[in-house]
């Protein structure tokens, strides 16, 4: 009996560590980006030793906000390594243990595994950081990585998701009665999600043309004009109505002709990253489950995507406005929607297991104390995993201007937000990252 109590208390302790859904941490990072919290304590490298992907990605973004590009890349490197060794290459035994602990408690008990779109953006931002440092050799490696991941995603993503779903289905089918009640519960859950995800235009091919566009700019700046042209062609063909894209494509095309001298005109490529992408929030549904022919109504926590406000509608310069290239919300929603069935299955399995444990304890506990503790613990850990990379923009838009040696960028209300002199014989990327009006960071990247 003593052993039973000890195990139980250990179990409760373990339970409590999974009580946070990270909504407050997400909010903390969001505030840090807006307020540019660049102190050393905030950006200490050892912070990324725990939950490396989640912390690493967010702190890498904060270091980028602070223009500490080297530190930003160190955080990104840590996150990238964790993607490889802690996610991709984990053994089947590790996966099973992880899955079991997630079903028993919730996803937050284990380290954040991240999303595929995040990996592509990780390498893209690393590439931009290297460009800002003037290290075009390493920037090329990072943009190649982003493109490689993009290709891989097209090829592997669907298989990966299918396999995950099949595994959960197989697991659930082991208990026919519980499986039947799961099936019955799926309709109200998906109905709820249909309403929640209605606002997003989820892409089917998961292609992040923003990564391809920025890669095209890099190769253009690195004077690899044929590769730049091929990449921009891919982007331009995906949105033939985007006049900005078509204009830039025509400029790139001029550099593919057999010439000894290329056009002398230099350009400013304005890239505007607007606001914050969607964040995850939690909703609860009370669902009926059948245990030993008894019906139990259980409150189950699910995550959903909530869109956030834009910053400026557009930016303008030389009488022209930025034109939208991509909505990140849609990219995120695409992956979220595809992962949804396996996520729902896992949450249902988790809720069923926790409740059956509670019932077993209640049946064997004459004092009622253990039963009470167990029920409270279950309520406390009934949380959805809300961890995300918080720094991605809601959308990105572009504008190309002739470099006349001076640039002035205005917001949608004609208020100037950036003014600077530029070397006339160089191409520039001016990336404006605006989290909210009057909270902007401008990255100026010069051709070598």
């Amino acid at each position: 009996m003593k052993l039973f109590y000890s195990c139980f208390y250990l179990f409760v302790l373990f339970f409590l560590s999974a009580c946070s859904n990270h909504a407050n941490v997400n909010f903390f990072y969001e505030k840090a980006f807006i307020n540019k919290q660049c102190n050393e304590g905030m950006l200490a490298l050892n912070k990324a030793e725990k939950d490396t992907i989640y912390t690493g990605l967010n702190l890498a973004s904060l270091a980028r906000v602070c223009k500490d590009y080297e530190k930003s890349n160190t955080f990104f490197d840590k996150a990238e390594e964790a993607y490889k060794y802690d996610v991709d290459l984990q053994s089947d035994i590790q996966k099973t243990t992880k899955n079991f602990s997630e079903i028993l408690l919730n996803d937050t008990i284990n380290n954040y595994q991240g999303y595929f779109y995040e990996r592509i953006m990780l390498n893209t931002y690393k590439g931009l950081n290297y460009m800002s440092l003037g290290d075009f050799k390493n920037a090329r490696v990072e943009f190649n990585r982003a493109l490689y991941r993009q290709d891989r995603m097209k090829e592997y993503f669907y298989d990966y998701i299918q396999k995950a779903q099949e595994e959960y289905q197989k697991e659930l089918k082991k208990d026919k009665k519980i499986y039947a009640s799961f099936q019955q519960n799926l309709t109200p859950i998906y109905k709820q999600y249909d309403n929640l995800l209605d606002a997003f235009n989820a892409n089917k091919n998961y292609t992040n043309i923003y990564a391809t566009y920025l890669s095209a700019l890099f190769f253009f700046f690195d004077k690899d004009y044929i590769k730049a042209y091929d990449l921009l062609k891919e982007v331009a063909l995906s949105d033939i109505k985007n006049t900005q894209l078509q204009k830039q494509f025509q400029v790139f095309e001029k550099f593919t002709h057999l010439k000894t001298n290329f056009p002398q005109q230099k350009y400013i490529f304005i890239v505007y990253e607007d606001g914050f992408s969607v964040t995850k929030e939690e909703f609860h549904l009370t669902l009926p489950f059948i245990f030993n022919d008894n019906l139990a109504n259980i409150s189950v926590a699910f995550a959903y995507l909530k869109s956030r406000n834009a910053s400026y509608k557009f930016l303008q310069s030389q009488g022209e406005k930025t034109q939208n290239l991509i909505y990140f919300d849609d990219i995120i929603a695409s992956e979220f929607k595809t992962l949804l069935p396996s996520m729902v299955m896992k949450t249902l399995a988790s809720s069923a297991l926790k409740t059956s444990i509670n019932l077993a304890i209640a049946n064997n506990d004459s004092t009622g104390f253990l039963s009470f503790i167990s029920t409270v613990s279950t309520i406390l850990i009934n949380k959805a995993d809300l961890r995300m990379w918080q720094a991605l923009p809601k959308s990105a838009s572009i504008l190309m201007l002739k470099n006349e040696g001076l640039v002035k960028i205005y917001d949608n209300k004609e208020k100037i937000i950036f003014e600077d002199e530029l070397e006339k014989d160089k191409n520039y990327i001016l990336m404006i990252r605006s989290f909210m009006p009057n909270s902007n960071i401008v990255y100026k990247i010069k051709e070598q």
Partner: protein, 206 residues
């Protein structure tokens, strides 16, 4: 009986463990295995083998058959672009090639000029001492003594990855090198060597 079953199980286990190791292949549909590879990424063996093949190809080229110690040509290292998703020190490839070129007696490497800056700045720095009274001016290199290169060695390393029918991936590395005559702008020699490796694609190659 039990023993033989156990042995078979053990052999199977070893076999399955071995089969997960990446292999070099001919890169063709037949997928002829050419030995075990250390990783799916680029390793030292790949650079050594490629450098060796490239040196043989260059030295056996008829364009350089008549070169010897008396009429050897000066080579400068041009741009060797790493166009892969892996962080590679391209010197690993070029150093082996330039050492072999020098040893052949047909070529010599200049370190005074190279793409991205001189390999050794001292040949320029020493000339900055011309008006420095602390130095014996007669010992300082005279004007017009540096030899301009006759050829430049440039190239690119690329990587492609294809998914195979059996779920594995084939990683293909292309090493492309060109020796350009700086006088005429003509490529006197060029070659491309390919390395193909197949293995499980659970993660990225870097």
């Amino acid at each position: 009986m039990k023993k033989s079953l156990f042995f078979m199980f053990f052999a199977l286990l070893i076999f399955s463990a071995c089969s997960s190791q990446p292999k070099y292949t001919d890169g063709k549909a037949s997928q002829k295995v050419q030995g075990d590879a250390l990783t799916l990424g680029l390793d030292r063996e790949d650079f050594e083998k490629t450098a060796e093949d490239m040196i043989q190809s260059l030295l056996n080229d008829p364009a350089f058959a008549n070169l010897n110690n008396s009429n050897r040509k000066v080579v400068a290292i041009g741009k060797i672009i790493n166009d892969t998703p892996q962080r590679i020190d391209t010197d690993k490839l070029t150093a082996k090639i330039t050492i072999a070129l020098r040893k052949s007696g047909k070529f010599i490497l200049t370190t005074a000029i190279a793409a991205g800056g001189a390999k050794d700045n001292l040949s320029h720095d020493v000339r900055d001492l011309r008006d420095n009274e602390e130095f014996n001016q007669n010992s300082i290199a005279k004007k017009g003594t540096l030899l301009a290169p006759n050829f430049s060695l440039s190239g690119k390393i690329r990587q492609d990855t294809v998914k195979l029918y059996n779920g594995k991936i084939q990683t293909e590395y292309f090493f492309h090198l060109i020796l350009t005559d700086l006088n005429s702008g003509l490529a006197f020699w060029e070659d491309e060597k390919t390395i193909n490796k197949t293995g499980k694609g659970k993660s990225v190659t870097w």
